[in-house]
Symmetry: C2
Subunit: 331 residues, 2 copies
Amino acid sequence: MNESKIQNPKSKIFLGVDGGQSHTEAVIADENGNVLASGFGGASNHAEHPGGRERLRNAILNSVGEALKNANLPPVEKTIFTAAHFGMTGGADYKEEIINETVTAEYSIVGHDAPTALFGATAGEPGIVVVAGTGSVIYGENKRGETTKIGGLGYLFSDEGSGFWLALQTVRLAIKEQDGLIEPAGLEQLVLNFFRREKIRELTNDFYSAKITRDELASFAKATHAAAAAGNEVIRDQIKFGASVLVESVQSAVRRLCFQDNFPVAGVGGMFQGELMRKYFSELLQREIPEAVFIEPRFNPAIGAVLLAYKQAKIEISETLLANLRKSKVK
Amino acid sequence: MNESKIQNPKSKIFLGVDGGQSHTEAVIADENGNVLASGFGGASNHAEHPGGRERLRNAILNSVGEALKNANLPPVEKTIFTAAHFGMTGGADYKEEIINETVTAEYSIVGHDAPTALFGATAGEPGIVVVAGTGSVIYGENKRGETTKIGGLGYLFSDEGSGFWLALQTVRLAIKEQDGLIEPAGLEQLVLNFFRREKIRELTNDFYSAKITRDELASFAKATHAAAAAGNEVIRDQIKFGASVLVESVQSAVRRLCFQDNFPVAGVGGMFQGELMRKYFSELLQREIPEAVFIEPRFNPAIGAVLLAYKQAKIEISETLLANLRKSKVK
């Protein structure tokens, strides 16, 4: 604990951070579950890449700094949080040192983003969370505290059902359309319009030379989802396939954790904002795992991180506290 | 033409270069089709990446330099070739300037690697070549000089049937095996043994942080092919699928170029060294496109580049010249 820092004198303050592949969200709350403010920063991934340490430091500084400012609290270098929890995409590797240099807290834990998402979605209850944002991962925890993680090995190796995956599949299919390997389905035009390119080769070259980032490619998922909702069967089939892999992953988590009756399964992340993904996933879940209950996440992952910060500081997560969080939740 | 350079006084010399994703091959021949020597250098791809210009320059310098040395000719800075043809993966983009600074020739063309592969495989005759090395591309040219290219947009967007693709699919399936999404098939162990890692996550992390290159990942294809040959059904199915996409691509090229009877289709690159890929591809080609004739490539792509250099210099590609090339071909 850095004695030169001034802790907020009025009350204990808690920090929850959700560090994702496209942005980082920080939420500050008091000890009674009243959210004081939130703030946003850039992506938290690839701290090990060239320039990555600096990017991560900025993502943390910007999100936590904005939240402190919005809460009329002193800046980050003058603040000591009572407890802080950081749920980071890709886990703590390379990140813990940078984060601990940047933010001071009496108790601080840097962990994976998946447990944070589950803790938020179920408000700390056992269950399974399916995170499908830029990437995808399935995480479960049972009442004995046993945990399992399925997928989550990144854009190249295991990300079915994620935004990057759907965007990539659509571009791949657009190339097959252009090459005459599949029937025309308007995919090439969809890709060219979205990325404002004349040829798909310009897009792929710009991706390989890093002029288009993975996050920018993933942002195409929303437009592809909209095209599917408007009737594009080829993309619909892709979303169905993505949903089926996510449900198979839930099934594997259920077996491993011996879940039986009425356990919650929540969908978190941008892909579940899409009507079709929600529909296909929930229908398939109902059919394949009828003992699962598909729930709306109670809180987002950043609030999940706040709840984990409370847990660290041994603050009881009472219904009153949860009601306060719900009431004051920053949209 | 740089007058300070000394052209080899005895005879005209021709240079063919095949610049691939894993290595670069240079072949030097005289005007009668006698191969004087060959030489090898590193990969020719991604000249646009940080450090890429220097890597490409070295790949060219090393391969051409070694060939000149083996042929007892003066070093590259003192040599003027009569004609040189460079068939480069990814095409001429970013590469032409670097190559023309490095090698001097009276006539010099920097083009794609696919036409070079076709020109070598058919000794300049119309036909279709399927290149399946680290990446994959299908290229055809008919007797009217019309050309078409299918695929070839790199490891992320279109490379079914390539070495990188097979290696990646096997790692993806190994992750599904580890995650309990498919029946155990020995894939996880195959991956861990080959890459000498304890966990697949170590491999994926090392790939994302560029400690393992794409070429190193692609080199796993040979071991996966061997496992399939030894009976692994899951990998066999992948190779079959890869072969089917390659045959569909040939079909599209046939339609576009209006090929009809007895036209040659050649398979070039490391994947066609694999017994199973050759078998599945040739069987499927025979069934789906019976009017195609699956041929052994007459010459490799580097010799194809020499033939294109002859063509530029308006040297007739006679049967005597081809017989000399065959006789003296450096293994």
